[in-house]
């Protein structure tokens, strides 16, 4: 199913996208995704729709896990649908989507990460085959992005586009509210670590009650309740409503990556991929855009993790909790991070007690005060590389030897968005 020849204007726009994105890469001005897409969209405002015609399209959105799930879904469909066009660098606005499609073969499937705010218009204009809805929680406090409003807009777009399969996290009431608007929802029990933004019922403005015991059930007195699951996580397995059960072996760490993997596999299955094939391919992914990679920084070895908001930090702190080695936590508050780091007080940094901790980043002083009240002794080192080195040395001292870091000789670095990307720009890959 090729989409036929593209209009002349569109072909010119595609050429411009490729030239500009190639040129800005060559000039060293970033990856070129935004500049190229911008050039193309200027020539043809409907470029994205034209480029998507004739492709099988899946979109991935939510507050946390977008980049990882997009990558896992692209990997999962590869054996059945072929190599997918995907915005792998996390440029999740239309400029990034245009570049991903313009620089790929015309009929390759598309797996696109989409900013939460842009999702409704992409659902309407691209009419994708599947949409993956991960979760909704507070992020970037200086913007007025009430998560409730986002859920309502998702719901309206899905109601108006009944052909779309919505693969939705049924453990998140706001996501469930949005996906209830879809004609074809697939309910996945993917977990919810941060309930603070979910207690207000989106249906009646009453109060959601969560079942105790970690089963993930929830309900409101108005009758809005967690739907019956099509896909459940049981131990290390995924269990389907039809009784089939598959193990989920993963190279990526953490409960949240297990949830991302199951969401990606469910979407792949909705697009005709066999569950076992999807899960086998997902199991081979060791890192996503540097996240969870082990890198060399200033002569030390560090495992690097990204956490952008309270929900994300909660998950990552859970992940590193069993370890005992030194931890570096880094916070910036640039536009891409949100300029208001008040959310630091929603993060349970108390869990770092007993570890060697170094606070870093442009807003390390906000973090330092937070750690002070959490009674977590720490040092404050503004420069990120110097902070990793300080943690490494302190770890060596604590271990009483010349080796440094924890048993694997490693420092854990957790940063918010630009703190993470800044460190990665100064790091060298040493393999996973």
């Amino acid at each position: 199913m090729s989409g036929g020849p593209l209009p002349v204007r569109t072909r010119a726009a595609v050429a411009a996208t490729r030239v500009v994105s190639g040129l800005s890469r060559w000039l060293g001005a970033g990856s070129g995704t935004v500049a190229g897409g911008h050039a193309g969209l200027t020539l043809d405002p409907h470029l994205l729709e034209h480029l998507a015609t004739g492709r099988r399209v899946a979109l991935v959105s939510g507050t946390n896990g977008k980049t990882t799930t997009t990558r896992l879904l692209a990997v999962a469909v590869e054996g059945t649908l072929g190599h997918a066009a995907s915005n792998t660098t996390g440029s999740n606005m239309p400029t990034g989507h245009v570049t991903a499609l313009a620089t790929s073969p015309r009929c390759a499937p598309a797996v696109l990460e989409v900013d939460e705010g842009y999702l409704p218009r992409l659902v309407s204009s691209l009419v994708p085959e599947a949409v993956v809805l991960l979760n909704l929680s507070r992020d970037q406090l200086d913007r007025t992005n009430e998560v409730r409003m986002v859920a309502n807009k998702w719901r309206a777009a899905l109601s108006a586009t009944p052909s779309v399969v919505a693969v939705a996290n049924a453990d998140d009431p706001l996501v469930t509210w949005a996906a209830s608007g879809a004609a074809k929802p697939i309910w996945v029990g993917a977990g919810l670590s941060w309930r603070q933004d979910a207690v207000g019922c989106p249906s009646c403005e009453g109060r959601i009650t969560f079942a105790t015991g970690g089963g993930g059930g929830w309900s409101c007195t108005c009758g809005f309740t967690r739907p019956r699951l099509d896909v459940a996580c049981v131990g290390g397995d995924v269990a389907l409503a039809d009784g089939r059960r598959f193990p989920v072996p993963l190279a990526l760490p953490g409960r949240f990556n297990r949830a991302n993997a199951v969401m990606a596999a469910a979407a792949a299955a909705a697009m005709g991929v066999r569950w076992d094939d999807a899960l086998r391919r997902i199991a081979g992914v060791h890192e996503v855009a540097g996240r969870f990679a082990v890198v060399g920084v200033g002569g030390c070895t560090a495992r690097v993790m990204l956490a952008k908001n309270p929900a994300g930090w909660r998950e990552v702190l859970d992940l590193v909790s069993p370890d005992e080695g030194p931890v570096v936590v880094g916070i910036n508050a640039r536009v891409a991070d949100g300029k208001d780091p008040s959310w630091l007080w929603d993060v349970p940094f108390e869990r770092l007690r007993g570890r060697t901790v170094v606070a870093t980043g442009e807003r390390c002083r906000d973090l330092s005060v937070r750690l002070h009240y959490a009674e977590v002794p720490h040092r404050t080192v503004t420069d990120e590389v110097a902070a990793v080195r300080a943690a490494w040395m302190a770890g060596a001292g604590a271990a009483g030897g010349v080796g440094a870091g924890d048993a694997d000789g490693r420092v854990d670095f957790i940063g918010n968005y630009t703190a993470f990307t800044d460190l990665m720009a100064r790091a060298t890959r040493v393999g996973a």
Binding site: L141, D142, K339, D340, W345, R365, S368, Y373
Partner: protein, 246 residues
Amino acid sequence: MSLIVVVVHPDLLGTYGDGGNGLVLAQRARWRGVSAELVEATSDVALPEGDLYCLGGGEDAAQTASADRLRTEGTLERAVGRGATVLAVCAGYQIVGRSFPAADGRPLPGVGLLDVTTAKGTGRRAVGEILAEPVGGRLPVLSGFENHAALTTRGPDTSPLGRVTVGIGNGDGTDGAVCGGVVGTYLHGPVLARNPALADLLLSRAIGRPLKPLDDTEEAALRGERIAAVRARRAGGLVRYVLGSS
């Protein structure tokens, strides 16, 4: 006897990490050997009796639900009558006043602990760093972050908390309102973490005696950095304004 610090409705009023204020108060009491209990009172349980109450920021529907609940229960009002101390920030500041606007602008009744009324603003949303010189001279400069779209007018029974030098605050050049042991402000989120002197003022009122100083090295470093950053940005803005208009 333990000092009871109540975080009011964290499920409704906690958008900006405002729960941090309760933690700061409880820790600063404990660090001085005063035993303190921190109670997170969600809106599905009756508001407990306490010595210090903290209210935070929230979205429109949540703010209305919290105000309804507080007015119906009357516990907060009675606690203040008994001498309890209250810190109310952002949406919490608005609901302890006489009235505040619903999402559609219609005025809704507040709890009435402060003689202030709040109405929807007409201009841009006030989002950014804020600096205010405290009124009364007992505190150093107040530093914080604000994010709100409303304007607050004080009645004769209150004094402002500070005079705004950077930012918007109430919208008339002042920020916040104080009446007895009730303090309201637009400096949202963990305002007490940036302003430990304000925390100690509230705490000493609740405990009933002056408090010995603590080692505030971390807080001092944060305050110094934030105040310098805000003043540098304002100076830069002035330079651009003068150059741009010449």
